[in-house]
Every structure is written in structure tokens, then in C-alpha cells.
Symmetry: C2
Subunit: 387 residues, 2 copies
């Protein structure tokens, strides 16, 4: 986070347009040349207007992205989509683009229309302020309950030195199957549509789909990857794939660490399972259990709640074979407690990062996921979000 | 709750046996004559010792039930079941019963063994104190985080006046499919095994399976119905069925109202759905959503979170057809907001009971469920339960 990355030809800005009562709320990205894009959206049946809008044009080359916080523009009907057309119409002449080259992403309260007029009025300023070194302003403009802007980047060598820079926002409505609201990744690496698809979907699966905060699947979840057009630098494809995974991993860990109200992150590893899908179900069930999450908050080595959640995952499980390890210390073997020092375990569980391993001793498959604890602050943030 | 019901021939007591640091923790029920029993247990794959024990004998007539709080006796292996045999051996001579006539039920911390010796030492006192009017002591002895003992009863006419009396404990680990930890219902009504089975399973489905607090399925969930042996009083079967449903309904509503940390109860009604199972999935998804539950706590008419949860239920849903009504006021029609007074809605949402109706306008099936809000106190109770 110390150094803000930049990529030649990609310009960022963030301005306060009045969607929120205060602070940056409108982020703009302009690509000086037409750029390829790959997008993944929420699996929620209720989809925000920007998703309905973007899906019509996200195959073609794009020139700009407008992302806002403070209003999800979800459940706003045809009017919500119409507002985006109006905003695109306002932006296009400012950056010499056509409408079909402008994508949108929104985050915030569901059910309210965007203040389109105010946003259109703010566009000239956003366009004027854009610069290659502006990623941090853009990152700030898409924050909601995030406590800090989330930026990750890496570089790798091919015919030249390439950069991958990513930005994301959390931090509530982080769901078990597609865990983010918004994340955007930019690179100057030219990659073929087939190769980028494979690398992107695998990286998303291994990172954003392996975190959860509250099991809530948002109406707005969007991850976009923007790549340079042109002949692929094939020799560096593997380095690109690794770098992409690294940036998405870092962003996803930032999102879970900054999960609403979170005081700790727990890494849940379920192993020794006959089928991977069973391991995944158990891991997700533990990661979403309010009782295990409050125990993490209380630094309580409460393995009973963990095994109870595992037993409720709806997959076969023989309690008499289950071993549970917390912070490297085995606390249950064969489904029964191993005597341990409460004082020592309490101290170990008080760390910022908690490691939980549940071994079913019944096969070779495994699955792991990161989750947060459930705290007073989660309740506080969400009991007062709209007011 | 004003009057504590009693039934001739059924004697109750509750004593402090030392399982907990203080307070009643051992409840005893003695049936002067052999009694029929019907039991339903948790669907969790990890089952407490009392379930493993009771399942071997719960077909036969029974003479007694020993229920304790403070220790779940779950994940305690063969030793946990052995402890129950030892306790039954201590009780049998005191009440002139044989081992196979003594059932158990436990609630409390998972993974710890029962202090069997202390419990056996307390049995003579429990046996001596038992009386027909002792239901309240028994109810107190099975409480954990409950804030009051939960007793419900009704009477109905047949050849004589019959009584149904029930007792339950909550109040965390209240799960979506079988929502209680312990509930026991007693009646002097003689009913055939076939008829009681039907009436009981239907009543449980309509009551305890329609509440949730935190979506957690316990290792110990147990509901037992004790009925008098003998020729069925067939003319009163319908009155019995109604009465049983009424008592279970009242107990289940007590459990949800006294859900851990709950400040409000929300009644979620999903209607206009093509299939009942879809309506159920949507209702349960809304009822378990941490974001809708924190919004209820904040008295926030946040219909956006409700429709987002509905859209994430994994069943078909056309957002453009969805109407949402809160406290009788329609706040969204066709998936978009209807202008409403925030002040008025905030006031309405501040009541103890919240009514939510989600109409998909797409069919005739419906499903309803009761849930609690998610509060600071839920986090507080569960972050400190073991310490």
C-alpha cells in the first residue's frame, strides 16, 4: 500500500459528487486506448442496474469505467438503467468515447435511485482530475464501510516489465460464493481472450470465492479485469497468471481482514474428507456459524461449536473420527476433548489470525476458507447503516 | 405462566447438583405409572450422548426422565453414554423403576463429561422433592441462557377434562429445521400410537420448525411427548390434536421471543410463490440473513436487504414482480421503492413484533417463519458463554 501503482495509458480520479453526504463517491477510470474487459457479476437473482446495463456491452472494447459508492442503484427498475445511459451520455463527449465503451459499477444502499443530475455535473471535474497516478483517489471513491482503500499490485517480466494493479471495496454483504462487492484489476499485459478467461476464473475461484464475512450475497458484486489489446506476450503468460492470482489474493485478504466489525480473521481448513464438495460444505458451514464466529470474537477455544457446525453441514460425517486443531494445538481427537490448558488456548486464540483445522480422517479431499469473527461492531455498523 | 399446571401421576423436581457453579441444573420427572413416549431428535450428524442412549429405549414405556443443564454431554464418546447408565443405575432403585424406563436429556457446553458422581449424589434429594406441582422447578433446572422458565398448558374435554402441559428451554443454537434444544410435553390423554405420531409430527412441523434464532442446529435438540397408556378417548382426539398444537406453538413462540439477545421477533411471510419449497427457502434465507436481522435491531425499514436475501435463496425470482410490506405498509412494489415516510416507518419498525410480507406475485404457495433480530447481546452472550 505504500507505493500506489500506475499503468501507462490508464487514468484515475475520484470526486465528491453529492451521492453521499460527504467524501469521495464517484470514481472514474479512463483508458486512453480501447481496452479488453472481462467481468464476473453476482449470482444473486436480484441484480443492480449497472449489471443489467454492463452485460449488454461488456464484450466489446471499453474506454471508461464509472464507479460510485453511496447508492447501489439496485431495485430501481428501468429508471435505474436509464440513469446510467444519461450519465454515459454526459461522459462520452468529455473523453471522446462512444456510449458503448463506458461501463458502470455501483455500491451502497439498495432501492434508491442515483442522483444522476448531480453525478453528470461532477463528471467534468472527474475527467479533468484524472491521472495515471490517481488510483488511490479512485479507491477512496468506491469505499462504503471499508476502513481503508484497498489496492494491491505486482510486476512481472516479459518482453517488457508489466504491471497488474487491483482495487477493491468490501466490507459487508460478503458472501460465501462470490465474496466481494466491487473489485477492478488493470494491467498493461496483452493477453488472448481465451487465456485471460481461464486465468481470471481460476484466480477468482481461489481467492474471492474463498472468503466470507457474513454470508450475504450482494445485488452488486462485480469483479472486472481490464487487459491491454494486442498480440499476447506468450512467454510471460505464466507470470501473468501467477501475478493475477497474487493481486486477487491480496485484495481478497484485505476485504476479509477489513470485514465489517471484524477483529480477527479465521482460516478454516477442512481435510481428510471423501469428496471435495463435502469438505467445502463443512468449511462454509463453520465459516458462517454465528456461534463459532462469536467464539472467535471471545477468543474461546470452543471446539464443540465447530464440530456442531460441521455436523450440521448436511454431509456424511462420523463424529468419532474427527480431530480438531486450533492454532496448531489439537484440542479434540476422535470427536472427544483432549485436555488442554484453557489459559494457554485463550492466549493463542487472542491473536489476530486464527487457524482452525478439522480433520475427518475419512479421505483425501480438503477445502479452506477465510472468515471473520462476529463482533459488536458488525451489529453496530449494520443496525445503523441507513440512518 | 401465572398458573403452573399439574397432571395426576406425573411428578417433577429440580435441584442444584453442581453441574453449574450455581442454580438448579438437574430436573427429574417421574411417572407413577408406565407412560408412552414419542421423541424427535436433532438432525445434526453429531448427536449428544443422551440421544444415542435414549434411541435404544424410547420405544418402550418409560417411568422417568432426567434432564440437566450446564453440560451437553455431547462429543464425550462411549464414556458419555456410560455416564448415563451409571446415573440411571443410581435412580432406578429410588423410584422402583428398571433401567430401560429412564430417559435422559442434556443441554449446555459441548465436549465436557457430566459430573456423574455429583449427579448421582443429588438424585435422592431430587426424588424426595418431586411432586405433581413441581413443573416450574423442573423448568428452571433445564434453563441455560433462557431469561425465564417456559411453560405452556391447555385443557380440553373428552370423557373427562384432560390437560396438556409443556416445558421448553431455548435460547441459542436455535436452528432453521428443528428449532429448540429441549421441549417436553406431558398429558393424561390416552391416545393410540398411530394417532399421536401423526398429531405430534404435524404439530412440531407447524411450530418448532417455524422458528429460528441463529440458524444453528444443536447436537442436543430433543422434543418428547409423554402420553397416558390405555384405551384412546377417540371422541376427544381432535381436541387433543388442537391442544397439542396450541401448547407447542406457545412454547415455540416463547423460545423465539427469548432468543439469545433478541429485542424483537419478526414474522416473515413469503407468498405468491409457485412452489411451497421455494417459499420456504426464501423465508428461511431472509430469516437467517445477518443484514436483515441487524436492520430489524436498528428498526430500519431496509427492504433492500430483504429483497437481496430473497434473491440469494437459490430459487427462481423475478425482482420486477416482488412487493414488500413491512408492518402492513407496502414499501416496495414491482421490485422498486414506494415513497414512504422514514419517520413513520422507523416508528412502526420499533415495535416488539415486526411483520414482513414478501409477495412474489407468481403463484399461490406460501410459507412463514418467526425469527429474532441480531443484537449486541447475542454477540455478548456467545462471546462469553464458556468463560
Amino acid at each position: 500500500m505504500a507505493k500506489v501503482p500506475s499503468i501507462e495509458g490508464i487514468e484515475f480520479s475520484g470526486v465528491a459528487s453529492g451521492i453521499k453526504a460527504e467524501g469521495l463517491d464517484l470514481g472514474l477510470v479512463v483508458f486512453r486506448e480501447e481496452t479488453n474487459v472481462l467481468a464476473v457479476y453476482t449470482r444473486n437473482r436480484v441484480k443492480a442496474a449497472h449489471i443489467l446495463y454492463d452485460r449488454r456491452i461488456d464484450k466489446g472494447p471499453v474506454r471508461a469505467l464509472v464507479a460510485n459508492s453511496g447508492c447501489a442503484n439496485a431495485c430501481t427498475g428501468k429508471e435505474g438503467v436509464g440513469d446510467l445511459t444519461a450519465i454515459a451520455s454526459g461522459l462520452a463527449p468529455l473523453i471522446d468515447a462512444n456510449l458503448r465503451g463506458i461501463l458502470f459499477a455501483s455500491t451502497g444502499v439498495i432501492g434508491k435511485r442515483l442522483p444522476a443530475d448531480a453525478m453528470i455535473s461532477a463528471l467534468p471535474r472527474a475527467a479533468r482530475l484524472r491521472k495515471e497516478s490517481g488510483l488511490k483517489s479512485f479507491a477512496r471513491a468506491i469505499m462504503t464501510t471499508d476502513t481503508y482503500p484497498k489496492i494491491a499490485h505486482t510486476t512481472f517480466r516479459g518482453k517488457k516489465t508489466y504491471t497488474i494493479a487491483g482495487v477493491a471495496k468490501g466490507s459487508g454483504m460478503i458472501n460465501p460464493l462470490f465474496a466481494t462487492m466491487l473489485a477492478f484489476v488493470f494491467t498493461d499485459f496483452p493477453v488472448s481472450p481465451e487465456n485471460v478467461k481461464l486465468a481470471f476464473s481460476q484466480a477468482v475461484r481461489d481467492t474471492f470465492e474463498r472468503i466470507t464475512v457474513d454470508g450475504e450475497c450482494s445485488t452488486n458484486d462485480t469483479v472486472m479485469l481490464f487487459t491491454r489489446r494486442g498480440q499476447e506476450d506468450a512467454d510471460a503468460l505464466e507470470a501473468f497468471t501467477d501475478g493475477l492470482r497474487e493481486v486477487l489474493k491480496e485484495l481478497s485478504m484485505m476485504v476479509v481482514r477489513d470485514g465489517e466489525g471484524a477483529s480477527r480473521v479465521a482460516h478454516i481448513m477442512v481435510k481428510g474428507v471423501r469428496k471435495k464438495e463435502w469438505a467445502e460444505k463443512i468449511a462454509r458451514r463453520i465459516a458462517l456459524s454465528p456461534l463459532t464466529k462469536t467464539a472467535f470474537f471471545g477468543a474461546d477455544p470452543n471446539w464443540g461449536r465447530i464440530i456442531a457446525a460441521a455436523g450440521d453441514a448436511g454431509v456424511p460425517l462420523d463424529p468419532a473420527k474427527v480431530d480438531i486443531t486450533l492454532q496448531g494445538e489439537m484440542v479434540a481427537k476422535g470427536g472427544a476433548e483432549i485436555a488442554f490448558s484453557e489459559k494457554k488456548m485463550k492466549k493463542l486464540m487472542s491473536r489476530k489470525e486464527i487457524s482452525v483445522t478439522v480433520d475427518l480422517n475419512d479421505g483425501k479431499a480438503s477445502f479452506d476458507i477465510y472468515t471473520t469473527d462476529l463482533t459488536y461492531d458488525y451489529v453496530k455498523i449494520n443496525a445503523s447503516y441507513r440512518s
